[in-house]
């Protein structure tokens, strides 16, 4: 048996090597070396490792998602969906902003018509105020602050008029939906502030309220962009 045949035999990994191979290995140092290396690599290649604990994949994926995302997923999803489909009116306001150099342009404004939902507890049904924020680049961990005037409340937040949370903004359009409950019927504005890495931007979102009869006033509203 030559070295080539011997190595071929070794690679077949037969449990009981034949006599010719053993005889060859006895006299050939290089093939003995090769056999040892093969054995080593085989042991390393089959080195066991523990399986991850139960639900590992779901757990690490869940933990990897940003807090705002998890919150919306775990707690608010059902409510938000219900709310989205049952809104009295939808106001879509496009606000163009870019940090740290803010740019503004005439915001596109579209008032979609919708059906008013019966009021509960003496208040009107929540109004879906959708704000689209355009950013030139992604902003990780941006701080969003919402300040409501006296006549408005956020559904589910009682009388709390100041809310702050962190969210990652994608480059391009990002959409914020606020479920607003109306306490009086004056035309009013919501202040939204976005902070990121020392820069900040504030803008007012005008809210045109539905009439007392639940009709929507299809009026055009004008948004104001205020660089501070």
């Amino acid at each position: 048996m030559n070295c080539c045949q011997a190595r071929h035999e070794l690679e077949l990994m037969q449990r009981e090597n034949n006599r010719a191979l053993l005889k060859h290995l006895h006299r050939c140092g290089e093939c003995r070396e090769y056999a040892e290396e093969l054995r080593l690599v085989n042991l390393l290649r089959t080195m066991p490792a523990p399986e991850p604990s139960a639900q590992f994949e779901a757990r690490v994926l869940e933990a990897a998602l940003p807090t705002s995302c998890k919150k919306s997923r775990n707690q608010d999803r059902t409510r938000v969906r219900t709310w989205q489909f049952a809104t009295a009116a939808s106001l879509l306001l496009a606000v163009f902003a870019a940090l740290p150099h803010w740019q503004s342009s005439a915001p596109a404004m579209d008032i979609a018509s919708g059906e008013a939902v019966a009021a509960d507890s003496g208040m009107q049904a929540p109004l879906a105020v959708n704000v689209s924020v355009d950013t030139a680049r992604a902003m990780e961990g941006a701080m969003i602050s919402v300040s409501l005037p006296e006549g408005l409340a956020l559904d589910g937040y009682g009388d709390q008029r100041e809310l702050r949370w962190r969210a990652n903004l994608d480059a391009g359009a990002n959409r914020l939906t606020l479920p607003v409950r109306v306490r009086n019927e004056r035309r009013t504005e919501i202040l939204i502030r976005i902070e990121h890495q020392g820069a900040h931007k504030e803008f007012y979102v005008p809210v045109d309220l539905p009439s007392a009869a639940g009709r929507l006033e299809n009026r055009r509203a004008v948004s104001e962009l205020q660089a501070i």
Partner: protein
């Protein structure tokens, strides 16, 4: 109450679809390095947390598996190895997870000899120079090509081969006759 940025759900789903097929491999590799199951899970979770904002970058990666292992390796070095090497932090250096092999040996008497050899090899691996160990773990244990190992560790293919050669030479001594018996009696 507030749904912020509905597009995120799609982004989240894309991220999950991209990384999920590689999570077990990442865990296994993290375990090989840390020799601790809990640390391995923490390391994978940490890497994913840092990767989520870079979802767009992930989509552009051609071979995501080795790329993720490269990110995992760098994070491991940052979080574990540098800390262990710090003169301030007296954390114990990486030691082989003998407990795991002990469990396996109890469960699997038929493969006793092989498992015992592997336990010895694992111990020997942890005593190797870190740079040699990394190459063996990736190439011989996990089966990456020399080119992929070079890419993951940011070294040349030549360096991979020379480290592999030296490491194997050292590891072979573990398999010499008599070694197992001597350790088994301890």
């Amino acid at each position: 109450m507030i749904e912020f940025f509905r597009g995120r759900a799609a982004r989240e789903d894309r991220f999950t679809a991209l990384v999920r097929p590689h999570l077990r491999l990442m865990h296994r590799m993290a375990y090989r390095w840390t020799q601790d199951q809990r640390d391995a899970e923490d390391l994978v979770q940490d890497v994913l947390t840092h990767l989520f904002p870079r979802s767009g970058e992930l989509e552009a990666v051609e071979k995501l598996g080795p790329w993720l292992i490269k990110v995992l390796y760098r994070r491991y070095v940052d979080l574990f190895r540098r800390r262990a090497n710090s003169p301030i932090d007296e954390s114990a250096p990486c030691i082989s997870d003998d407990a795991y092999f002990q469990e396996q040996l109890q469960d699997d008497r038929n493969r006793f000899h092989q498992l015992e050899l592997q336990r010895l090899l694992n111990r020997a691996l942890m005593e190797l120079d870190e740079s040699w160990r990394d190459v063996v773990l990736l190439h011989d244990v996990e089966g990456y090509t020399a080119l992929e190992v070079a890419e993951i560790l940011d070294i040349s293919v030549g360096t991979v081969k020379s480290r592999l050669h030296r490491a194997r030479k050292k590891l072979k001594s573990v398999l010499e006759p008599g070694t197992v018996k001597a350790v088994a009696t301890c």
